[in-house]
């Protein structure tokens, strides 16, 4: 793995990455402990975290099954929450390795933070930054799940503010995208639409719906030209 200092910038400094990793480990522990308490043992949540790598979808899928929902419903809810990975994959696509197997493996690391943090880098640093942060987040999520499943169900990640740290990271990332009047309008549309949709649907589905609406509005007002300047 590359030395952190090689890719350290204000965006992915040691402090940022350490806090982000800590928050993801705590979330993984919460998921692992909860899944173990539900009778899934240790192996199943760890395998789920290793190969799905989508915290919200894993938690929601288990919740549907526990609530006597059908397996098909559980899968559909999980997939709806992971639909944004198509968009994130498109964003990072130009910066992934070109060799097919490496490209496939790198695709597996696609999630919110590796893509968003690496896109804050200069284009020539994005590939290295994405792989580094992607491996870090993957390890933190799987490792946290294992620790949580072994430790048991008494763990409370929310008391340590892990969800507040993740939310704060998204606030900082969102503000960083705003460069002018049109981008302010697009950001507000995305936020407001997500808030409205969350009244009726799961938050992951609300995010996908809000993203689509914001893209349509943003393209109509020419925000892509403002962002290209």
């Amino acid at each position: 793995m590359a030395n952190l200092a090689d890719t350290a910038t204000p965006a992915n400094s040691r402090v940022s990455l350490t806090l982000l990793t800590g928050a993801v480990v705590l979330f993984g522990m919460a998921y692992g402990a909860d899944s173990f308490a539900a009778g899934n043992g240790i192996l199943m949540p760890v395998v789920a975290s290793t190969f799905i790598v989508g915290g919200a979808s894993q938690i929601a899928t288990e919740a549907v099954l526990r609530g006597d929902g059908s397996p098909v419903t559980a899968v559909l809810i999980g997939l709806a929450l992971n639909l944004r990975f198509v968009a994130l994959g498109l964003i990072i696509s130009p910066y992934l390795p070109t060799q097919p197997l490496k490209r496939l493996f790198a695709s597996h690391l696609v999630s919110d933070h590796p893509v968003s943090f690496s896109m804050l880098e200069t284009p020539e640093r994005r590939k290295k930054s994405y792989l580094l942060i992607g491996l870090l987040m993957w390890g933190a999520w799987v490792g946290g799940t294992l620790i949580g499943a072994v430790a048991g169900s008494a763990f409370d990640a929310s008391a340590l503010g892990a969800d507040g740290a993740i939310a704060a990271g998204f606030v900082a990332l969102a503000v960083d995208q705003v460069v002018g009047r049109k981008s302010v309008i697009t950001a507000i549309v995305a936020f407001a639409t997500s808030m409205i949709l969350m009244i009726w649907v799961e938050s992951g589905i609300a995010v996908v719906g809000a993203t689509v609406v914001a893209i349509v509005v943003g393209r109509a007002i020419g925000v892509h030209k403002e962002l290209a300047r």
């Binding site: 204000p10 965006a11 992915n12 400094s13 402090v15 940022s16 539900a38 899928t61 288990e62 099954l65 397996p71 559980a74 899968v75 999980g78 997939l79 992971n82 990975f85 198509v86 994959g89 498109l90 964003i91 990072i92 992934l96 070109t98 097919p100 696609v110 919110d112 968003s116 804050l120 929310s158 008391a159 340590l160 503010g161 969800d163 507040g164 740290a165 939310a167 704060a168 990271g169 606030v171 900082a172 995208q177 697009t186 950001a187 995305a190 936020f191 407001a192 997500s194 808030m195 969350m198 938050s203 609300a206 995010v207 809000a210 993203t211 914001a214 943003g218 393209r219 892509h224 290209a228």
Partner: protein, 104 residues
């Protein structure tokens, strides 16, 4: 969780992640898609702010995360620099502090 659900979700989620990178591995993105990809971060992160700050299994909730997010927003606007580490630390401290003082 059951093994069939886990395996199905893992395979299809991987297909979601790999779709863009594999389709555009050797060909350039069309201009219209390039425009959309340029807008995507601006569209997706504010939506994620809404879900991570106000989202809950019950729908929309106002709790310690909202106070933390407001504090971070003020910090980021005032400092006008990329302060992700401090923003996340502030988010965690404020959230944990509010919960310790006023309960979950």
């Amino acid at each position: 969780m059951t093994w069939p659900v886990l395996i199905t979700l893992a395979i299809l989620t991987f297909a979601f992640k790999a779709a863009g990178p594999m389709i555009f591995a050797k060909r350039p993105m069309p201009a219209w898609l390039d425009d959309i990809v340029r807008i995507l971060p601006l569209a997706i992160y504010p939506a994620l702010v809404a879900s991570s700050v106000f989202g809950s299994p019950e729908g929309v909730t106002f709790d310690a995360r909202a106070i933390a997010a407001a504090a971070v927003l003020v910090l980021v606007i005032l400092v006008r620099k990329r302060v992700f580490g401090f923003a996340m630390l502030l988010g965690a401290v404020v959230t944990a502090g509010v919960r310790a003082l006023f309960g979950p």
